[in-house]
């Protein structure tokens, strides 16, 4: 088991954003995390990456308890993420953005020449090679999303957390992104993906976890989830059950 989350809790005032959530992820899986707006998906990712400290619960990653570890140590543990609202280094070039992942992430190199070469090939993977010397602030939103992915990849994670990376993409772009995500998995990286696009999440995930109001309401393959009355409840309301 690569990741094992047990009884994870996080409240904001009286609001239980993540309520006693358990789940686990095996090496090599793509796991989908879905749920309506405000159901606690991003909060879960924030807990996994140290951006929030859990109120209680355990997060075992790669045989190590990491709940509450500082956020800058998570990358070294082997977890990298993208942000729902992208956070590029605006005044740096694409290749510099990626080099930061390569020089501070897992298996970081101190050799800037090597880091630069690697960063070019990572940019190639996400289709940004020709934009290597463009400042992030001069990129479109779509390019910034790919850059964010490239940066996380450069950190050589074992587990990659993707928070709505595909939101706002058109059909063709989403298909391309799905292909990229499959390639990433094929390269040996385990993926936890948060996405609203049904086609993407169903097409990519080996397993799907459904959250509602901070609680896990269902878990299973795409087929199982689709016909699960609890999930239908969550998305369509009780009357349709």
């Amino acid at each position: 088991m690569l990741l094992q989350v047990e009884k994870l809790n996080k409240a904001f005032g009286g609001l239980k954003a993540v309520n006693n959530v358990d789940f686990s992820i095996q090496s090599g899986e793509i796991v989908g995390l879905i749920g309506p707006n405000g159901s606690g998906k991003t909060t879960t990712l924030n807990l996994l990456t140290g951006f929030l400290k859990p109120d209680s619960g355990s997060i075992m990653f790669d045989g190590k308890e990491i709940a509450g570890s500082p956020r800058c140590s998570m990358c070294g543990n082997g977890i990298a993420r993208t942000f729902q609202l992208v956070k590029p280094f605006l005044n740096l070039t694409a290749v510099q953005n990626v080099m930061i992942g390569r020089t501070f992430g897992k298996e970081a190199t101190m050799n800037l020449k090597l880091a630069e070469e690697d960063s070019f090939s990572i940019l190639e993977k996400v289709g940004l090679r020709s934009r290597a010397y463009v400042l992030a602030k001069d990129m479109t939103l779509m390019q910034r999303k790919r850059l964010e992915l490239a940066r996380a990849l450069a950190a050589k994670p074992k587990l990659l957390l993707l928070d709505e990376l595909m939101a706002g993409l058109n059909h063709a772009e989403a298909d391309e992104a799905m292909e990229t995500i499959r390639e990433i998995r094929a390269s040996g990286i385990t993926i936890l993906i948060v996405e609203h696009i049904v086609k993407a999440i169903m097409g990519l995930s080996d397993r799907i976890i459904v959250l509602n109001m901070g609680e896990k309401v269902a878990e299973g393959t795409a087929q199982e989830i689709m016909y699960d009355p609890r999930v239908i409840d969550v998305y369509l309301g009780k009357s349709h059950a």
Binding site: F51, C72, F83, F104, L112, R151, A154, A155
Partner: protein, 316 residues
């Protein structure tokens, strides 16, 4: 190729600066160059934390002042001046380490205001503790030569610019810029933001402390409080912004521009020059983001684009 060219230019400029006292015999002109070199040191050291790491520090004069006061006391007590300066730099580091933790708990404008307050506290405290003017002892006055001071200022400026260049082009520099641009993203990629800010502060403090030491060796008589004055901070900050923060050349250009303009203004406008600088600063912040270096880069980018579109036209 481009790196080699910059290196050659830097060597030539250094050699030219080293040769200056052979040709310039007028004390007023040499003093003037000393001031430019001092300000290059102050603005460049400020830039390591303020420009590269994005932490706008308005307490920079504290480090300059600490370097000056320690150097002055030790030098008068008979120490070798270089050794005294080193201790001044170390004292500045000690103060940086002391304030680093609490100061970096503050973010953005709060950090800026916090450092301003610290600087003011030190300024007032030194004024109370050392109210007497500090004058050079007679034997030092007799042996005083401006050329020695010039070389010391030159050495400190070179060390500062060299240190800034090395850091900016290192892995640490990448981390600092990442912290400046987006702290959350930087940390998610493994950059320890606090460590990077602290390193930038310590280096910035040490270099400002050395500059303070050179000042203590140069200035014949002054109130010990004077180097702690916020005016040093404001001047260095403005120079960095005018020239362009987060670049190596920016603070250098800013310092030259500032000292020259100040000279011209104080000759002609005497009392008004602070006002003129204030207005100039606001204009730069509003209309010249990135300072002179930013402007230069935009012009170059435009030319590049023009060239690209010309190339496209001729090879459709």
């Amino acid at each position: 190729m481009k790196k080699n060219l910059s290196f050659v230019i830097a060597l030539v400029v250094t050699a030219a600066l080293a040769a200056v006292p052979l040709f310039v015999k007028k004390d007023s002109l040499l003093t003037y160059l000393c001031m430019i070199l001092l300000y290059v040191s102050l603005a460049s050291s400020w830039n390591i934390l303020g420009g590269y790491t994005g932490q706008v520090n308005l307490g920079h004069s504290a480090f300059f002042g600490l370097g000056a006061i320690a150097t002055r006391l030790l030098w008068f007590a008979g120490w070798n001046i270089l050794l005294a300066m080193l201790v001044g730099g170390l004292l500045a580091i000690a103060f940086a380490l002391l304030i680093g933790s609490p100061a970096f708990k503050l973010r953005g404008a709060y950090f800026t205001i916090g450092t301003l307050a610290l600087g003011q506290i030190l300024y007032a405290t030194v004024g109370n503790l050392f109210p007497q003017i500090s004058s050079m002892p007679v034997q030092d006055l007799i042996s005083y030569t401006l050329v020695t001071r010039y070389y010391l200022f030159l050495a400190v400026a070179l060390i500062t610019v060299l240190a800034a260049t090395l850091v900016a082009n290192s892995r640490w520099g990448l981390g600092m810029m990442a912290v400046r641009e987006q702290e959350d993203a930087a940390e998610s990629l493994g950059v320890n933001a606090f460590q990077h800010k602290l390193l930038a502060l310590v280096l910035s403090a040490f270099l400002a402390g050395l500059a303070g030491g050179a000042f203590a060796f140069f200035q014949i008589g002054y109130y010990p409080q004077y180097p702690f004055s916020p005016i040093w901070t404001l001047d260095s900050t403005m120079m960095a912004y005018i020239g362009g923060t987060g670049t190596i050349l920016g603070p250098i250009i800013g310092a030259i521009f500032f000292v020259v303009l100040k000279e011209v203004l104080s000759l002609n406008l005497a009392e008004f020059h602070p006002t003129v600088f204030g207005i100039l600063f606001i204009l730069v912040v509003l209309f010249l983001p990135g300072g002179f270096m930013g402007l230069w880069k935009r012009i170059k980018d435009k030319q590049q684009k023009k060239r690209e579109s010309m190339a496209e036209l001729s090879h459709p």
